[in-house]
Subunit: 136 residues, 4 copies
Amino acid sequence: MTPIITKTELEVRYAETDQMGVVHHSNYAIYFELARVDWLQKVGMHYHEMEKNGVMLPLSRLNVNFKKPAKFGDTLQVITKLNKMPDVKIIFEYEIFKNEELITTGETVLVFVDKISMKPMRCPKSTQELISSFTS
Amino acid sequence: MTPIITKTELEVRYAETDQMGVVHHSNYAIYFELARVDWLQKVGMHYHEMEKNGVMLPLSRLNVNFKKPAKFGDTLQVITKLNKMPDVKIIFEYEIFKNEELITTGETVLVFVDKISMKPMRCPKSTQELISSFTS
Amino acid sequence: MTPIITKTELEVRYAETDQMGVVHHSNYAIYFELARVDWLQKVGMHYHEMEKNGVMLPLSRLNVNFKKPAKFGDTLQVITKLNKMPDVKIIFEYEIFKNEELITTGETVLVFVDKISMKPMRCPKSTQELISSFTS
Amino acid sequence: MTPIITKTELEVRYAETDQMGVVHHSNYAIYFELARVDWLQKVGMHYHEMEKNGVMLPLSRLNVNFKKPAKFGDTLQVITKLNKMPDVKIIFEYEIFKNEELITTGETVLVFVDKISMKPMRCPKSTQELISSFTS
């Protein structure tokens, strides 16, 4: 499928810095999450509604490659990419840019989980159709 | 009643520092929470069991007074004090020490909330009795 | 002086929720900080530049009153108010609204600190003049 | 070289949970950091002293594999392993256990950076010798 790509902008928060004077690495997992929630919303899925409808999306894998630091006062762009139709899992790739320079890349693998049974499930048909309608 | 006082030790985490080189102020709410959970446990209440039993304790007020900063590498002592038998709310006072020097004080007011109805409730009788058994 | 009031909008992040299903209380200190940085910027002060210029603004007091919870998916408005010309300290008041309902209030007291000497200092004249130009 | 392995125990904090009722995934980067700081300390390196001595250790890569969730009230054991003498980078592997069950694995790659020049540097000789003295 054609990748579905979104761009999310965020401002570094003071509380996200550490004593090295840069964004603490644990925050990139949160930046990816923000960008992912934004991706889902732009495609028509509201994550807080998905959870209410009984579908949870916990992470099964997180990879982050740190190239350059981000600082307080920086505005960052997160490019979020879906390359493959989700089945039991959904894989997103991320690129974070600061002033057009690529500073971080990463990937998350999330699994669809039924909120009641807490068991893995397949990606809902309606979600797959929504994704299909954005790609060709 | 005689105050019930506990002491909780914690190590500052790297991720808790900010670019001023000190613990970011938002973490003190978390330090108070750690100390409060420890207080409850020492008195015989396990907060994760209280929640399972349908009692939640959200905050209604938080006050923190910052006197001196804490740094990565510091070991801190949190003194947690209950001065008054809880009724619809429970009030804790905190003092944080670093090498015997008082660096932060604070207070939290928490309210008892029924997990099902999400309505305020009185402190369970069993909790009051437990507290009574520690004081005189 | 006439109060200087700004409004800052933010979206609750998933990572800010806790197992009660609401925003964990420690995040309100961060919401206040975001709003304060935005207030400063709107008045013409860029906090990351202030720090570079040797002025730090650590907290000396934080008060938060929690009225109603915020949830993932919520958009919040933070009203930040300065009522008094800063001298050795600067006091901000905050009101957080969710769909026009006031859910949290708070106050922070910050002190001006010289980054080199780490000693308290008075609010820079240029800052006072900037503030004067916004009020009458 | 023989791997150098340490074990670090930690208690899940309430603030680390999210609305799924489990530890939010971003906290595992912090758990790894705690365990790494503990590893360094057990081998005789105090990370806050390393930074004072001009050596910083930012992350260049983070991988986390989530197998089972952790919950508030859980005590976790983090096994930290160094398999290879550090040169320009130092690689740690992590395994997190909950009641003897492996719930998370991960790896971090950190690079030695000179705090003044902010340039990559080789692992200090004294650090390599310290590590050598622990292995055979």
